[in-house]
Amino acid sequence: MKTKVTMTINGVSYSHEVEPRMLLVHFIRELAGLTGTHVGCDTSQCGACTINLNGLAVKSCTLLAVQADGAQITTIEGLAKDGKLHPIQEAFWEKHGLQCGFCTPGMIMSAAQILQRNPNPSEAEIRHELEGNLCRCTGYHNIVKAIQYAAETMAKR
């Protein structure tokens, strides 16, 4: 039995009839066409599917689309404004916080929550808070530097 689901993603309303078993990440990628959100491990460990749901960073492979009915969602595509990258995106560029880039959207969505909750985190705090995001290329070093750099630039604005 299909269910009608309506949610706002990056300011745009999307409404579709879906099977209740459809995962939120597939709604975002396949029905909204926003493929910046990735499916990595598909078992709530790697964090590549991280999005912001009603103000909280969540793993969209571990939610049903029907659970997000009526929700406000921001994905990686919603961070840049007026053609200008978000300071965290800029910081990942500036500090080379990626290699292959697969984990990057999730890393940035997770970083946004880290800095929202703690605008001036220590290196240890950043590493601890990144527990839910796996990167198999960088060794995390430049990702941590990028988040520290973003904290600095965001404090100046």
Partner: protein, 285 residues
């Protein structure tokens, strides 16, 4: 990975949810944050024909203080517990336990009621709520009843909550000024589940332990109270020899299970180590 097909229900009240459980019985599963159930459904380890989502039932989330206890709604997320000024002030070990579950994204969705009902043998909360002597309030077709934590965990992933009942509240006694509490775990390096976890709540009066309450999770098929450790601490001063002797009792009564994380021998050793650390940390508070 997609779960098997199911029908999705969003009741607006506890009564409506109970009616759905009564109608569909074993074919129905309750959905809270979904961070235990959905992974199980994606692996097809669980295939409920009816999923009853509690997210639209008002009043199931929230934390308040009432009659000397913290009353935590079943749908309260781990993040809400971890960041609650009330929990941090009245029962800091509960906030510290919540903060060690999974990762920040998991804690934004996972709920205390969902975690306790799922009764994963490697979950964190069970050790701490045993140490704190919490009570679970469940509602069923015949009304409300309260289950003491010592009667709550029955066996692997099985609790005293009946198939026609819903866990609605967790009541945790406020920690007194002379009570020291701590939760120490050895996390699985990838999943962060507790390979072993030990929670201790110690009341010290006149330099001696007047109450000792110790909960253990991770090592066996269910969370248990470490009665041997409690007995070894009672009436004693918390010196190094007493703590060591008490910690040696941690594996007593635990049905330690070997798995990919370690042998029975290894986990038995970890239990003693983490019991010692939890008692030491509680003794300092």
């Amino acid at each position: 990975m997609y779960p098997a097909q199911f029908d999705y229900h969003t009741p607006g009240t506890v009564k409506e949810a109970l009616d759905l459980l009564g109608k569909y019985k074993d074919d129905a599963k309750l959905l809270a944050g979904g961070h235990s159930l959905l992974p199980a459904m994606k692996f097809r380890l669980a295939r409920p024909a009816h999923l009853v989502d509690l997210r639209k039932v008002p009043g199931l989330a929230g934390i308040k203080e009432e009659g000397g206890s913290l009353v935590i709604g079943a749908m309260t997320t781990h993040w809400a517990v971890e960041s609650s000024p009330l929990v941090k002030a009245k029962c800091p070990v509960l906030a510290q336990t919540a903060a060690q579950i999974g990762d920040p994204m998991v804690r934004n969705m996972g709920t205390i009621g969902g975690s306790l009902s799922h009764a994963d043998p490697a979950a964190d909360y069970p050790a701490t709520i045993i140490a704190l002597n919490a009570e679970m309030v469940v509602e069923g077709p015949k009304g409300k009843r309260t289950i003491k934590v010592d009667d709550f965990f029955k066996s692997l992933m099985t609790t005293a909550v009946g198939p026609d009942e819903i866990l609605t509240e967790v009541r945790v006694p406020v920690c007194g000024a002379n009570v020291g509490c701590a939760y120490m775990k050895f996390p699985h390096p990838a999943s962060r589940f507790a390979v072993v976890g030990v929670a201790a709540a110690l009341t010290v009066e006149g330099g001696k332990v007047s109450k000792a309450s110790i909960g253990i999770t991770g090592a066996g098929t269910k969370a248990v109270r470490a009665k041997g450790v409690e007995a070894a601490l009672l009436g004693k001063a918390l010196d190094a020899a007493t703590i060591q002797a008490a910690a040696e009792k941690a594996p007593d009564g635990v049905d330690v299970q070997a798995d990919l994380q370690g042998s029975v021998e290894y986990k038995t050793h970890l239990l003693k180590v983490f019991a010692k650390r939890a008692i030491e940390a509680a003794a300092k508070k």
